[in-house]
């Protein structure tokens, strides 16, 4: 009886669980779009999002202020104004919620409204490009991925990607928000840079830009001056002394740190190239070609030159890190943090808000890295009939109003400029010079030119500090910085193996050959001895003879 009761109870527990599972597929969608993106790489709605922050009065900590009755205080926003609200209502078919809607929900509304088809986005996230690649290799099906530059090239080279339809790049169709809003600079990079080094890793037809940036040093200007860094450049990694040794971080992944080590090794060459370009001896294209060649050099000779440099870097740095560097810099453990520009903006914001500390960002004069993440479609989207929806998703994210939301949430720079340069308003809103009191009025301001990104007269007035070394400089770099940033290609399969071997040699300690031999012999010796003791009792041959006068008793 007891047994039957317990089985009955177990059954009762199972039933609601089944209900939950079936509940997921209760609302039938006509199309399911599987999107696989980085963690925290899309506006997820709620507090701290662009729309929420724009419509609520916030305190110093970014929390919404409450009035006496416990209600949030709403304010008028410059960007999320009546026009924006009208656009939203027109696009999604529902009025804009002040609580900050999530982009994915909005997409589902927008898609159904415009194409008359119910769509469901199945959204999942990854932590590294390699994780994403493994998932793909294991046969998981996705319709849209957001890998980084080199991974896009790798996937394209391996024939795992589907090209965007030609109609996607048709500027005449106004629903093609991507091509109509993407920054001409980014689009040109995609078209010309693909295959620049002569390798067949062309990616422009496979990818649509999402976020991009540079790499450089975030540093504490109270300890390390900008003049000093201009002088040192990449050498900061190997400079000895209290302020550098053990006070600088590098990235814990082979590609970024190999790139940095190339910078250290070939700094002189890089600087002379820059000079030759400035003197007019080299055209911009020739310069970029040379720069890209140096920063993508994986020949054996170069690896041999870079290896001792990497060892020196390892000795000199505080840590290899992926995300602890920001905190280490803010709380003063290190003075310099080699970082992606988006992280640099985050670190500067954090230092300012929490520690009242002002950090700066610096891109080495010899040249640095231009990186990007882009949307690509794996093979099979056509067969599954999701290609159109995937392209629509990219187009939806490329509407300037949505690009702002994502850029605000992520903190990185969107590849979108806006057909009417809407993103310039956003940059102006973030960094425009608007003195509110006398102290701020005294600050020096400059006319900051972003025409290179927007492809037309685009100037904002900004504080000089912002434009030359702080968030604005990191998020929307000046043209001369972009001129010296090269894309890091996929190394190719064979070179990747060699670079990874190099990385493991650098990361791990290698003992001398004799030490390894001695250790191996000792271990084998101990093992044999133990085997002897263990088996000795069981094998007759090893069995010791009884002492004189004793005899063995069989069990």
């Amino acid at each position: 009886m007891k047994k039957s009761v317990s089985i009955l109870l177990a059954g009762c527990m199972l039933v609601p669980m089944l209900g939950v599972f079936s509940g997921c597929s209760g609302k039938k969608a006509d199309i399911i779009l599987r999107v696989y993106n980085w963690e925290e790489y899309i506006d997820e709605g709620g507090e701290g999002t662009f729309i929420y922050d724009e419509l609520h009065e916030l305190d110093d900590k970014g929390k919404a202020v409450k009035d006496g009755a416990g209600n949030h205080v709403h304010i008028e926003s410059d960007i999320v104004d009546d026009d924006y609200k009208a656009w939203y209502e027109d696009a999604m078919g529902v009025p804009l919620s002040e609580e900050g809607p999530a982009i994915l929900d909005d997409f589902e509304l927008w898609y159904e409204k415009h194409y008359g088809v119910k769509i469901k986005v199945e959204y999942s996230t990854f932590g590294t490009n390699e994780d994403m690649y493994n998932e793909l290799l294991l046969g998981n099906e996705y319709d849209l991925l957001c890998p980084s530059d080199y991974m896009i090239m790798k996937l394209a080279a391996e024939g795992r990607l589907e090209k965007y339809d030609e109609s996607f790049f048709d500027r005449e169709n106004e629903l093609n928000y991507y091509i109509n809003n993407v920054s001409p600079f980014i689009q040109e990079k995609f078209e010309t840079n693909a295959g620049l080094t002569g390798k067949d890793y062309s990616w422009s037809e496979y990818a649509a830009g999402y976020m991009w940036g540079t790499t450089g040093f975030v540093y504490n200007p109270e300890i390390v001056s900008e003049e000093e860094l201009n002088e040192l450049g990449w050498q900061a990694f190997v400079t000895k002394g209290d302020r550098y040794t053990n006070k600088i971080t590098a990235k814990d992944n082979v590609r970024d740190t190999y790139f940095a080590a190339l910078g250290v090794t070939f700094e002189e060459e890089l600087l002379s190239l820059k000079e030759r370009r400035e003197s007019g001896e080299l055209s911009d294209e020739e310069y970029m070609l040379e720069l890209t060649r140096i920063f993508n050099d994986t020949t054996d000779g170069t690896i041999a030159k870079v290896e001792p440099v990497l060892q020196k870097i390892k000795e000199n740095i505080y840590s290899f890190e992926t995300d602890t560097g920001k905190a280490d810099l803010v709380n003063g453990n290190v003075n310099l943090n080699y970082a992606w520009s988006g992280d640099a903006v985050y670190a500067m914001d954090m230092a300012e808000a929490e520690n009242d500390k002002y950090l700066n960002y610096f891109v080495p004069l010899g040249g640095s890295n231009l990186w990007f993440d882009g949307w690509v479609m794996p093979k099979g989207v056509s067969e599954r009939g999701t290609k159109q929806a995937a392209e629509a998703f990219v187009n939806f994210l490329s509407m300037p109003q949505n690009a702002m939301r994502n850029s605000y949430y992520i903190g990185y720079t969107s590849a979108i400029a806006g057909s009417e340069m809407e993103m310039l308003d956003y940059a102006d809103y973030l960094y425009g010079y608007e003195p509110e009191d006398e102290e701020e009025e005294a600050k020096e301001s400059v006319e900051y030119d972003l025409s290179w990104f927007f492809g037309g007269e685009a100037v904002i007035t900004a504080e000089r500090e912002q434009a030359e070394r702080r968030q604005l400089y990191a998020q929307f770099p000046p043209e001369e910085v972009m001129a010296r940033c090269a894309v890091m290609d996929y190394y190719g399969e064979e070179a990747t193996v060699r670079i990874n071997e190099l990385w493991s040699r650098v990361k791990a300690e290698t003992l001398d050959a004799w030490a390894i031999i001695v250790i191996c012999l000792t271990v084998t010796g101990i093992a044999l001895f133990v085997v002897y003791v263990k088996l000795g009792a069981k094998i007759d041959f090893f069995r010791r003879k009884p002492k004189k006068g004793y005899h063995k008793v069989e069990e």
């Binding site: 047994k3 039957s4 089985i7 590294t128 390699e130 994780d131 690649y133 493994n134 391996e158 024939g159 795992r160 040794t245 053990n246 814990d252 390892k314 000795e315 740095i317 505080y318 840590s319 290899f320 890190e321 602890t324 280490d328 709380n331 453990n333 399969e493 990747t496 193996v497 990874n500 071997e501 990385w503 493991s504 040699r505 990361k507 791990a508 300690e509 290698t510 003992l511 050959a513 390894i516 250790i519 191996c520 101990i526 093992a527 133990v530 085997v531 003791v533 263990k534």
Partner: protein, 278 residues
Amino acid sequence: MKLPRFSRKTLGIPYAVFLVFFVIIPMLVIVFYAFTTGVKDPETGAESFSFSFSNFLRFFSDPTKLSTIVYSLVIALVTTVCCLLIAYPVAYILARSRLKKKFVILMLFVLPMWINFVLRVNALREIFNLLSLAPALESLTSANYFKTIFGMVYDFLPFMILPLYTTIMKIDQSLYEASADLGGSALVTFTRVTLPLSMPGIMSGVTMVFLPSMTNYVVSDMLGNAKVTIIGKFIYEYFGNDWHMGSMVALVLLVVVFLSSWLSGGFKADENVRGTNL
């Protein structure tokens, strides 16, 4: 109402299925990957496998990998010894004391286990930052090793205390009395009675600490600033782009671990193993 009778055989089926799918098949997959290389068809992109010893040869001809195995072994060994030296007195005192609330004290030692591991390691990192270990000392590479081992000892200590405590608790009080009756001093009692009888606890504690501390690269990354590399980190990194080599490293580690547990079992008389070893 008549219920079907569950025989031992039928009740065992779920476990057999579990073992097959989550132990045996994955193990075979690792062996398969370790002794094959992938060849990609340049046209279709499809991957085909061919049997090869190249990963094996590459592993054993690479001084870096062998050194890393040695380093990991040493780090694990030091961690285990430290854990044992700290845990044994604690377990001994707790087990033999007449304290009424000794359970509470034991719980306090074990309590950290219930808090998320990454959180604890992060907290430890912050404490080290606060102390900032005298700048001169900090610059030594050995500081990273020190912090890594400290973190591992901190992390694995409960795994050593618990088995030791339960084993020492179970030692019959009358054995101590007998030893004293026969004229054994406190030291002799400890070396001839307590220590041999607590061997099973030591063995299971050692197995529980030694094995994970060879591969726990989260500690070496966070506390050793990723400048300390142990074999687990290699496995992780290889699985980013070369599953075959990654499987080979994992397989070598498996063999090392198997051998060391088997050999350490060989040092003691069989009747002392209460099924706690391996």
